[in-house]
Subunit: 223 residues, 2 copies
């Protein structure tokens, strides 16, 4: 728990560790994790490859450490008094991060995890759950204020909120931006079923069918 400068022999080089993480982040900003080699990290960090393997089991773990270290909490957890507004701001903040060079790593890590269960578990523990705990607070506040249903599990809600844009981020269909974040949140909060409330709000006459071809990043539909 305490800092222990009591080790017997030569101490671990903090410069080397910092250089490794920095070099890793640099490379991760330029190409996917999969196409980065341990040799490249070692060379750019000015460090022997053996030093890297002494402290990390593989490059995925180096990348995860670099990610966590380089991420100085870039995502907001707003508290405006309105749960829907909180979630909208939060999801906009998240989409902005996930489409940034550093944030794109999220998809890389999930990809890596598909063939490495241990890594995936670590990613959940050290990144995903921390984020989800923060977002859960927003849900709790909304429930306590009586704005939100109290019969839905908060984990379900988090997946409803983040799932759609994570899906888009990974599959690459559809845009991931502020506008889409707003649409997703408003749909989730109001539901997609037609009822009195939405029927009143709807600006589109009932005769007009959906499929309005609004999303620019979509191919031509067959229907």
């Amino acid at each position: 728990m305490f800092p222990e400068p009591k080790a017997r022999g030569r101490h671990r080089s903090v410069e080397a560790e910092a250089a490794i993480l920095k070099a890793t982040l640099y490379l991760l900003g330029r190409r996917p994790l999969r196409r980065i080699t341990t040799d490249a990290i070692a060379e750019r960090a000015g460090v022997s490859k053996a030093t890297i393997y002494k402290w990390w089991p593989n490059k995925s773990m180096v990348a995860l450490d670099a990610y966590l270290a380089g991420m100085t909490e870039q995502v907001a957890t707003p508290d405006t008094g309105s749960a829907e507004l909180d979630f909208t701001l939060q999801l906009k903040s998240v989409t902005a991060f996930y489409t940034s060079p550093l944030g794109r790593l999220f998809g890389q890590f999930l990809a890596e995890g598909q063939s490495d269960p241990d890594f995936l578990a670590l990613f959940r523990e050290r990144f995903l759950y921390a984020r989800r705990d923060a977002a859960r607070i927003m849900w709790q506040r909304g429930v306590e204020r009586g704005e939100l249903r109290d019969d839905i599990d908060s984990d379900t809600v988090l997946d409803l909120v983040y799932g759609p844009l994570v899906f888009r981020l990974l599959a690459g269909h559809g845009a991931v931006n502020d506008h889409e974040a707003e649409i997703v949140i408003s749909a989730i909060f109001g539901g997609i079923r037609r009822n009195k409330e939405t029927a009143q709000k709807s600006a589109v006459p009932p005769g007009r069918l959906g499929n309005t071809e609004s999303s620019d990043q979509r191919r031509a539909s067959k229907y």
Copy 2:
């Protein structure tokens, strides 16, 4: 368009192609795509590796072909007269498929696509969009019957429906099964905002807060 046995030289071996796809499917059922080698496919198919590389650019493409060929339309597109029921049945069907040996490949392909944009694009074209078009029909029917909001883009709806469970499938948090499918659909259709309708339906007294620890596959929350 027509079968053309008119090629000049030696003909492509249909046995070899079939053997390659079959061997690939066999291996994909046993370990993740990432950990399957082209040599292993070639050996099991009784075929030279060069033959594989002659017809496919890499093993991901072989896997995609094997996937599409081996998938005899295992997912239903129900038409019960109720959009919510249709989507519930459909999502149950999808989760069953995605948790099956063959269906797990969905995540593998998305993972592969994170470091290979061309492959990801092809995956969208040849798999994702076909599935989405089928599901879109269900949405259209619901809109035409007046059950569903006509001011929401169908692509948004598809991401709302599939995104949450795709997210769970890839990140490995939370369960992916019939029960969760029901919960997701009912939440999406009704919305998560508390209103008269949900307040009536709620079996939980307003005084009791959420976070009921219902999901078994969740770690202990910090809150």
